[in-house]
């Protein structure tokens, strides 16, 4: 019988250990990311089918106050134990509300409310279901003795608890398509989508073109190149809130320098409300997007340009290629990879952009993109469900882009 040496099949113990190690190292990241990204995403899907508003976030709770009335001074004095109970919600019921309290020593209730019972010093009151807006006052006569007066406890210092279940809109099984109907209803959605596409396409392409231009400017050695490169990155590095407010100030129709300049130069005859009128506001936010993100494209394109082999250009020079020909036939094909990757990534990011438009126009004057619409629906109109529905739409688009992206990028960059 002959034995042939075969390579081991399956995963050996070493490989298993390595895999365990890898998962162990990744565990904290996976846990935290799934907690903050995956769970919220699932929640968004869930909420998008729920009729939930901002006010529903606080579930109805029973509110209870306890006090001793009558001011007893001597043993045997009469007093009244008072409980005031109400439902914090005006329209939603609370089910099975039960009050539990421990009476202080020396306090005896002489006449029990029918809803209550006492065993030892423990008082239990069953209120049943509280309707929305329910309010009640429970007064029970009581007597005190010397022990109570000596201890000087206040009635509400003793332990007291109240329980009850309320129907939480976020967790019950009531589902609705109302949110989606509302989002897709009417022409609004399509105009929002149109604005988003305009903003995304022109913002991305503009930032790429300007970035390409800036990269070509700086792709040569000269004194002050470093300073200019640093300066050109300013818009990207500065906090969005600072630059957005600066732009709003600069283009203010009444006291903005840009308007004053245009008036003085005779370009405009009256102040222009740059961020307040259609369609100028949309163009302005797109210009802002280009201004803020051209540095990023410029950085990437410059890095790629500097890694292009210079031999090729020398060869082209020998062959008599003109500068434009060199750009068109040599540089551009070399840059096509990074340009397309940048385009896809920036496209996704511009599509996702919220802060910029929110700060510049607040989504007014025809600049409401899908992301701003999430905020608008959820917080301005207080309809969280509708906001979540818009978020789901965004997420669906994102998945489509990502599929495209991975198809493409794995070819281009080997990711």
């Amino acid at each position: 019988m002959t034995t042939t040496a075969l390579p081991p099949k399956g995963t050996g113990p070493l490989a298993k250990r390595e895999a365990r190690m890898a998962w162990g190292l990744l565990l904290p990241t996976l846990l935290s990311v799934s907690l903050v990204v995956v769970l919220p995403l699932l929640a968004i899907f869930w909420i998008s089918f729920k009729p939930v508003g901002l006010a529903d976030l606080r579930p109805p709770t029973p509110v209870l106050r306890e006090s001793l009335r009558g001011n007893p001074e001597a043993p045997g004095d009469d007093a009244q134990v008072e409980y005031r109970i109400r439902n914090s919600s005006q329209d939603k019921p609370i089910l099975g509300v039960v009050l539990k309290d421990r009476l202080p020593e020396g306090l005896t209730i002489t006449e029990l409310d029918p809803r209550c019972s006492v065993s030892g010093r423990d008082l239990t009151c069953d209120f049943g279901d509280l309707e929305g807006g329910f309010r009640d006052r429970l007064r029970m006569p009581a007597t005190v003795d010397q022990a109570f007066l000596d201890s000087e406890v206040e009635l509400d210092e003793t332990k007291m608890s109240i329980s009850g279940t309320s129907d939480n809109i976020l967790t019950n099984s009531e589902l609705t398509f109302e949110n989606f109907r509302r989002v897709f209803d009417g022409g609004e959605f399509w105009s929002v989508l149109g604005v988003t596409i305009f903003y995304t396409v022109f913002g991305t392409v503009g930032a790429l073109l300007f970035g390409l231009f800036a990269a070509m400017l700086l792709n040569k050695e000269f004194r002050g190149q470093g300073i200019l490169r640093g300066l050109y990155l300013f818009p990207y590095v500065a906090p969005v809130i600072a630059v957005a407010f600066t732009w709003v100030n600069l283009f203010d129709p009444f006291s903005g320098s840009a308007n004053a300049l245009l008036l003085q130069m005779g370009v405009a005859s009256e102040p222009i409300n740059f961020f307040g009128q259609r369609p100028l506001a949309l163009i302005m936010v797109t210009v802002f997007e280009i201004w803020r993100y051209f540095p990023l494209s410029f950085l990437f394109i410059l890095a790629r340009m500097q890694s292009i082999d210079s031999d090729m250009y020398e060869a082209a020079d020998m062959d008599g290629a003109s500068p434009f020909q060199k750009f068109w036939y040599l540089s551009l094909p070399q840059l096509l990879g990074i340009l397309s990757v940048l385009f896809l990534l920036r496209f996704i990011w511009t599509f996702n952009k919220f802060d910029d438009i929110f700060l510049l126009t607040g989504g007014n004057a025809g600049t409401r993109t899908l992301t701003v619409n999430v905020y608008e629906q959820a917080f301005a109109i207080s309809n969280i469900g509708a906001g979540a529905a818009v978020a789901v739409v965004i997420f669906t688009c994102l998945i489509a882009f990502a599929v495209l992206f991975f198809r493409f990028i794995s070819r281009e960059e080997g990711l």
Partner: protein, 404 residues
């Protein structure tokens, strides 16, 4: 295009375009610097540009070009058709300054741009070189202007008073005689609006975010980059995917959960949430770098009896210090500039971060210079850090982060 390839056409055309660029630039520059009315003159620009551009071809020396430019500019100014027109109340000194600036800014660059151009027919090379030089010059002016003007306006507005700006929005000249009063809005922000606290909060949050992010992403990145296990490719892709999920989509459920658990309005909650938004980026950047490190060094360490964790600690991390620096800087920048979550989750002015504090200043009751001073306070630290460590930053940004 070939119709343009004659020196006597190319020269004047480029001359006019360049002169107009210069006229606009000088007008804006002088207006912003002095507050006096300057504006570009179309006729003057065309005349000056055509004459100088037609003259500054091959064989002319710089002094000849400058002399001509000066002569024409001066003549046009006297005739009232200067390339840089002035309004009422502009003194002789300023007009003289405008003439000299125009002469220099038109003469010297045009001489450079058109240096190779003959008067007659141009070869394609010479023509395209001239066009490229013009575009380069235009590009420098254009980009510098669009980047510098907003920041200039931001800083200067913070030093002016509201009335002065309403009177003349172009007048950014400083009133030096006010002395320290010039910085009044800053004193008020730090005094009445407790911007000192916000600065500290932002610093704390950003630094903690950096450390937590690194603590989570270094092991994760190492695992994805080096260790073999099933689902590695899928995992590294899903990291990138997560990094593309828009914050506004997540902000809604986070807001709900934070409201319910009482984490809203706490700095703890902010510190809890910021690192998670940066971990995927950091992980993605770091794993790219780890992959580039030679595996042999680590294997040698393993052979010599180090455990994996010791290898990471003693070999991989010291080798990747530059990458760690750039990732830290980048994460710091994201945390420092973060606005949306701070805006949604913080309502209590005693717990604001800097960006949230600046957002608070955006109200009609608070004068504009305060808002701009707040913007400057938020911008200066990150700018200083960035300029000081620009080399790391540039590398870090290109190492796989296209987030924004």
């Amino acid at each position: 295009m070939s119709g343009l390839r004659f020196g006597y056409i190319t020269g004047p055309v480029i001359g006019v375009l360049w002169t107009f660029t210069v006229a606009v630039t000088i007008s804006v520059l002088l207006s912003f610097a002095s507050g006096d009315p300057f504006r570009p003159g179309l006729i003057g620009s065309v005349l000056l540009g055509a004459v100088v551009g037609g003259f500054a071809l091959k064989g002319r020396t710089l002094p000849m070009v400058l002399a001509l430019a000066f002569g024409v500019t001066a003549a046009l100014t006297v005739a009232g058709a200067s390339p840089v027109l002035t309004g009422d109340g502009v003194g002789g000194v300023q007009i003289g300054l405008a003439v000299i600036l125009t002469t220099l800014a038109v003469g010297w660059p045009l001489w450079k741009i058109l240096d190779d151009c003959d008067f007659g027919e141009l070869t394609r090379h010479v023509f395209e070189d001239a066009v490229i030089r013009f575009l380069t010059g235009f590009g420098y002016v254009f980009f510098t202007a669009i980047v510098a003007i907003p920041f200039y306006v931001m800083v200067m507005t913070s030093l002016k008073s509201q009335q002065a700006l309403l009177q003349n929005p172009l007048d950014f000249s400083l009133e030096w005689d006010k002395g320290w009063d010039l910085f009044r809005s800053y004193f008020e922000l730090f005094g009445q609006f407790s911007f000192g606290n916000y600065l500290m909060t932002s610093m704390l949050v950003s630094v903690l975010t950096v450390f937590i992010t690194l603590a989570f992403s270094i092991p994760g990145a190492y695992a994805v980059a080096r260790l073999r296990f099933k689902g590695r490719a899928a995992l590294s892709r899903s990291i990138l995917l997560i990094y593309m999920v828009p914050m506004i989509v997540l902000a809604l459920p986070i807001y709900i959960v934070f409201s319910m658990t009482g984490l809203r309005n706490t700095i703890f909650g902010i510190i809890l949430i910021y690192p998670v938004t940066t971990i995927p980026v950091a992980l993605y950047m770091l794993q790219g770098y780890f992959r580039g490190l030679p595996a042999e060094v680590e294997e040698a360490g393993l052979m010599d009896g180090l455990s994996r964790l010791a290898v990471i600690w003693k070999i991989t991390l010291p080798l990747s210090l530059p990458a760690l620096a750039s990732v830290s800087l980048y994460v710091f920048m994201i945390a420092w500039n973060e606005f949306l979550l701070a805006f949604m989750l913080l309502d209590d002015p005693s717990k604001f971060t800097l960006t949230r504090g600046v957002a608070m200043l955006n109200s009609s009751e608070i004068p504009r210079q305060h808002l701009m001073a707040g913007a400057v306070i938020a911008t200066v630290p990150i700018m200083a850090l960035f300029l000081g460590l620009e080399r790391f930053m540039t590398k870090g940004l290109t190492a796989g982060s296209v987030k924004g």
